[in-house]
């Protein structure tokens, strides 16, 4: 017994040192990504990016490692200790800002110049990676908030899409009379959905101009427009617009609200552009679907806007021993638009929709026409200056968590909207004082 356990013990010691000694002929580049085995993300990334890149040349070997659980935290812990992967992915600018502050990321300015990255990436998205006048992260995915609706259901009932607040509320009432939910949605497993709704109301009630002013400090968050926006959201939330009741909204997760939308339990879905994945699920049923930008929720309505968002970034670890090779990987990704389109298509355009300069011709073949319409409309409208701001791309860290986490307290009635916005204002002032604001390009 003792001999056996001893040999196992030595076995453990030897195997534990084995990992670092695999063949080192090529330059090894590691990359940590969040894991989603169940939906096939790991396989897709391995196939399109890892294998694609590795077979394109024979000097660098890329390995993508998938981290379960809260991968931002695992990454942060590793960066703090001066280790971690060569390529660092994060959930957005909030994390990048912190990493830059800690000096954990390598400036990409030189590579951007050398490879001409600014000509490949849409300017607004490029700018979300610029900190202290230098580029530190590349946008991996861009998103915006949209409406999806069950077109067949709308036609049957003679409903039309709302264009102002009064129409919005009367439509919701009509839908509820039919015993349906106006919107399918819920926060179980991802409570950050609260900030989607908060952002929607801030950008469609107070409007992007006011949001911009508050972000740059020309207005206060406690101003009446913002109070009005969140009061309206609270009223609608309590009226059961999303999944019938506040309690159900908290209990419903992705699978559930997908089913609600696909099975005619809800007439609409107010979600990010990643919702195309859910909407296309209707194709298997007899119902047709449509999408639209969010209507302006004021008396008179107005021209809709798209909220800008970068939902994922790529950077190079300052501790990387081979930053040049890592940059080669990044450049390969940016230069292989076709591969990226294939990849994002395999993810139903919910992930890896890189904000590159796409042309109609890039989407030849079997792309869903509604999705193409959206991509074209998005660049047109935002090009005309009709854009708003998502909280997770433009809010500093503490204000960014407060906006969704403490929103529950407002909905529960424990604090008033004014108190809530007062706390927001304080957190923004603190961030401004500590120089923690994220890059916001002038309007």
């Amino acid at each position: 017994m003792k001999v056996i356990s001893k040999s196992i013990f030595y076995g453990i010691i030897t195997t534990s040192f084995l990992f670092s000694t695999s063949a080192v002929a090529k330059t090894q580049i590691s990359w940590w990504n969040y894991s989603n085995e169940g939906s096939g993300l790991n396989a897709a990334l391995t196939q399109y990016i890892q294998d694609g890149f590795n077979s394109s040349q024979d000097e660098i070997e890329l390995q993508i490692i998938f981290k379960e659980g809260e991968y931002n935290e695992t990454t942060r812990t590793a960066l703090l200790a001066g280790v971690g992967p060569d390529l660092v992915s994060s959930s957005g600018a909030t994390y990048v800002a912190k990493y830059v502050e800690g000096g954990f990321l390598k400036s990409l300015e030189g590579y951007a110049e050398k490879f001409g990255w600014s000509d490949k990436i849409l300017p607004w998205a490029y700018n979300t990676g610029v900190f202290r006048d230098e580029l530190y992260s590349l946008p991996k995915n861009y998103e915006s908030m949209l409406y999806f609706y069950n077109k067949t259901l709308f036609e049957e009932n003679g409903w039309s899409l709302p264009t102002n607040l009064a129409e919005y509320e009367s439509l919701a009432a009509e839908i509820q009379e039919q015993g349906l939910y106006p919107f399918a949605y819920g926060s179980s497993g991802w409570p950050m959905t609260h900030e989607h709704l908060a952002g929607n109301y801030l950008n469609t009630v107070a409007g992007p101009d006011n949001v911009y002013k508050a972000m740059v400090g020309e207005k206060e968050w406690t101003d009446p427009e913002f109070v009005e926006s969140l009061e309206l959201l609270k009223k609608h939330m309590r009226a059961g617009y999303w999944s019938g009741s506040l309690e159900n909204y908290y209990a419903v997760g992705w699978d559930d609200f997908s089913a609600q939308f696909q099975n005619r339990e809800a007439a609409m879905l107010q979600i990010g552009s990643w919702g195309f994945e859910i909407a296309t699920g209707l194709d298997d049923k007899s119902d047709d679907w449509g999408w639209a930008p969010l209507p302006i929720l004021t008396e008179e309505g107005g021209e809709p806007n798209y909220q800008l968002s970068v939902g994922g970034t790529l950077s190079i670890n300052a501790a990387s021993k081979n930053p040049d090779a890592a940059a080669e990987v990044l450049n390969w990704i940016l230069s292989n638009k076709d591969t990226i389109i294939e990849l994002t298509k395999s993810r139903n355009f919910g992930e890896w929709l890189m904000p590159l300069y796409y042309e109609e011709a890039d989407f030849a073949g079997d792309i869903e026409p509604k999705l193409r319409d959206y991509l074209v409309d998005f660049s047109e409208r935002t090009g005309n200056g009709n854009y708003g701001y998502t909280t997770w791309t433009y809010y500093p860290p503490e204000a960014g968590t407060h906006i969704w986490k403490d929103m529950e307290v407002v909905w529960a009635g424990d604090i008033s909207v004014e108190e809530f916005l007062g706390e927001q204002q304080k957190l923004w002032e603190k961030a401004r004082k500590n120089n923690e604001l994220l890059p916001i390009a002038a309007r």
């Binding site: 076995g11 453990i12 040192f17 990992f19 894991s35 812990t77 200790a81």
Partner: protein
């Protein structure tokens, strides 16, 4: 006659209460088992009942996607390593506290120290620990994780083993001393052989903790090949998707080895726990 009738009635009421308590556990577990053999499409229409179409392939899918052969092996290595290190060190400490110096100040101080150790949340020390581990080159190694698990489980192990050793008759040790045994021999020849039941108990508790541990595993292991079993469950669920069928099958596969272990050692498991634990 009357007594036995009373006893019979007592036994029946005992069983009724016990059965009710058992059902509060069996019923929820049954839903898990049903879900593990349910086809995906059936979840919407038949959430709680037995599946109309049994799909055992869920287990196969979970086994393949989760790379179970590999992760189970890794977890087994972690458990074995932790058992060896943790039980060796803990039994030495317990021997010291229970036999060598049972009434010393140290016993009380160490007792308090270990109790306080039990109350510290991992979130408080995981970050500095990671930095220390990096400097010692223990990151991403099994031995590094085994050291952590041994330390985390040591307090409870010391308590359990000590409580057993305290009850060993002192005469045995005195006899051995008369025969010229060294302190080390007292430990290996007297204390250890006599307290084997408690090692089964402690071993099971430690194995459970290591097998199910997630936070340290995901923080300290970065290579795909080294991932332990607990990380796999997390890769089946995320924001976008909760694949109940696969997760349920994966959960059951994860619990099965431990359940079997418990059934095998159940009698000894109980024997190892003693009430002396808190004396002295």
């Amino acid at each position: 006659m009357r007594i036995s009738e009373n006893k019979l009635r007592g036994a029946v009421s005992n069983h009724i209460i016990l059965m009710v308590l058992a059902l509060t556990i069996i019923l929820p577990i049954m839903v898990l088992v049903f879900n593990s053999i349910k086809p995906d499409e059936e979840f919407g229409i038949n959430p709680l009942g037995f599946p109309e179409k049994v799909r055992v392939m869920n287990y196969y899918d979970a086994f393949v996607i989760g790379n179970y052969a590999q992760v189970m092996m890794n977890s087994l290595l972690l458990v074995t390593g932790t058992l060896i290190m943790c039980l060796t060190f803990s039994s030495m400490a317990a021997f010291s506290l229970a036999v060598l110096n049972p009434n010393g100040k140290a016993t009380i101080l160490i007792g308090i120290y270990l109790l306080v150790g039990l109350s510290i949340p991992a979130q408080l020390f995981i970050l500095p620990l990671f930095i220390i581990w990096k400097n010692l080159h223990l990151n991403n190694t099994f031995i590094g994780l085994i050291l952590i698990y041994s330390a985390l489980n040591a307090p409870f192990a010391v308590f359990l083993i000590r409580s057993y050793m305290v009850q060993l008759p002192r005469e045995l040790f005195e006899a051995a001393i008369v025969e010229g045994a060294s302190t080390f021999q007292l430990f290996t020849r007297v204390a250890l052989p006599l307290s084997w039941p408690v090692f089964l108990t402690t071993g099971l508790v430690v194995s459970l903790a290591v097998w199910n541990e997630f936070l340290f595993a995901v923080t300290f292991i970065h290579n795909e090949e080294f991932k332990p079993i607990s990380t796999i469950l997390y890769s089946f669920q995320n924001r976008r998707e909760e694949n109940y069928a696969l997760i349920s099958a994966a959960s059951i596969m994860m619990a099965a080895p431990l359940a079997i272990l418990f059934i095998l050692f159940q009698r000894n498991f109980i024997a190892g726990l003693t009430s002396g634990g808190t004396k002295g």
